[in-house]
């Protein structure tokens, strides 16, 4: 399978042109897709076994929307034998390893207090607690 990835200028959209012996698939996606996902999309389309030569569709998923146009190549094409076999070389503009590399992030809070603030906070807390006690005591009488 050969695919070419293009990032649309001034947009978050990516387009992919995938080509193989089955034909071509043009994919527009709101998220970046890996080679594995593209492979999976093509496999799903092939399994649909639809007789139409051109299929348009849309897949919504948790990260966005993928729109596709699948153009099937006739099963027996005269010039097939004259063509060079597919060499499975990705022609993505991205680094090949990006297809299987994920960036992950851990975040934890970092809190620091200055002594003056801590003292002021404690004083305010004491005053609040004292007035609350006085208020509560008043309610008992």
């Amino acid at each position: 399978m050969i695919f070419q990835e293009r990032k649309q200028p001034n947009s978050d959209e990516y387009t992919y042109d995938v080509e193989d012996v089955f034909g071509t698939v043009h994919i527009e996606s709101s998220v970046k897709l890996t080679g594995d996902i593209l492979d999976g999309i093509v496999m799903v389309l092939l399994k649909q076994n639809i007789s139409a030569e051109e299929i348009r569709g849309e897949v919504k998923h948790d990260k966005g929307v993928v729109q596709y146009v699948f153009k099937k190549r006739p099963m027996w094409e005269d010039e097939d034998e004259a063509k060079q076999p597919c060499n499975d070389t990705p022609t993505s503009t991205q680094k090949p390893e990006s297809a299987s590399t994920r960036t992950r992030l851990l975040r934890i809070p970092i809190l620091s207090w200055c002594a003056r603030f801590a003292e002021a906070f404690r004083e305010a807390w004491k005053k609040g607690a004292k007035s609350q006690r006085e208020s509560d005591a008043g309610k008992n009488y």
Binding site: T101, T103, R104, L111, S112, W113
Partner: protein
């Protein structure tokens, strides 16, 4: 399945390691997950330095962990600064553990980035180009808050620890 990764922190003279810390609160004590309000920093002083590391406890089918990046978001209070050994250039190699102190530490002198660094700024095996192909840990990340005598409040920020995971 993704790799299982946690942040660990070492404290005390004996390098007591606490796994999977829940915060990186900084204060006037050498303690993990400390309560900032109970351990406030006297303005003009430094917090105790933190020694933390990114710990891969399971690869989860991945083959490589690398490209470690650390940074902080949200400004510090007053004129405080945040220093670290993490740096993209002139990395001094693995930071050796020593009993945490509230004074300056050699090589923990670089300003903590406040956005994602371009490249790795924390090493593995003493090198920014290092990687893990099995369970293991990064170099120690040392970091410390340096307050100013005029500081009043403090700050509530977020530490980010990022890595690349190759399947």
């Amino acid at each position: 399945m993704a790799a299982t990764v946690e942040i660990d922190e070492a404290n005390g003279a004996g390098e007591t390691l606490t796994h999977n810390i829940t915060n990186s609160n900084m204060g006037s004590a050498d303690a993990v997950n400390l309560v900032a309000a109970s351990n406030p920093i006297v303005p003009g002083d430094r917090s105790f330095v933190k020694y933390q590391k990114i710990h891969v406890t399971a690869m989860g089918g991945s083959s490589l962990i690398d490209n470690l990046k650390v940074w902080r978001t949200t400004a510090l209070g007053g004129s405080a600064t945040h220093v670290t050994n993490a740096r993209e250039t002139s990395y001094a190699g693995a930071l050796a553990y020593a009993t945490p102190v509230d004074t300056s530490v050699a090589t923990v002198t670089q300003a903590m980035p406040t956005s994602e660094p371009t490249g790795a700024n924390l090493g593995i095996g003493g090198s920014l180009a290092g990687s893990l192909s099995g369970t293991g840990s990064s170099d120690y990340l040392g970091h410390q808050i340096v307050t100013d005598a005029g500081d009043v409040a403090g700050a509530s920020c977020t530490m980010h620890y990022q890595y690349d995971e190759t399947a």
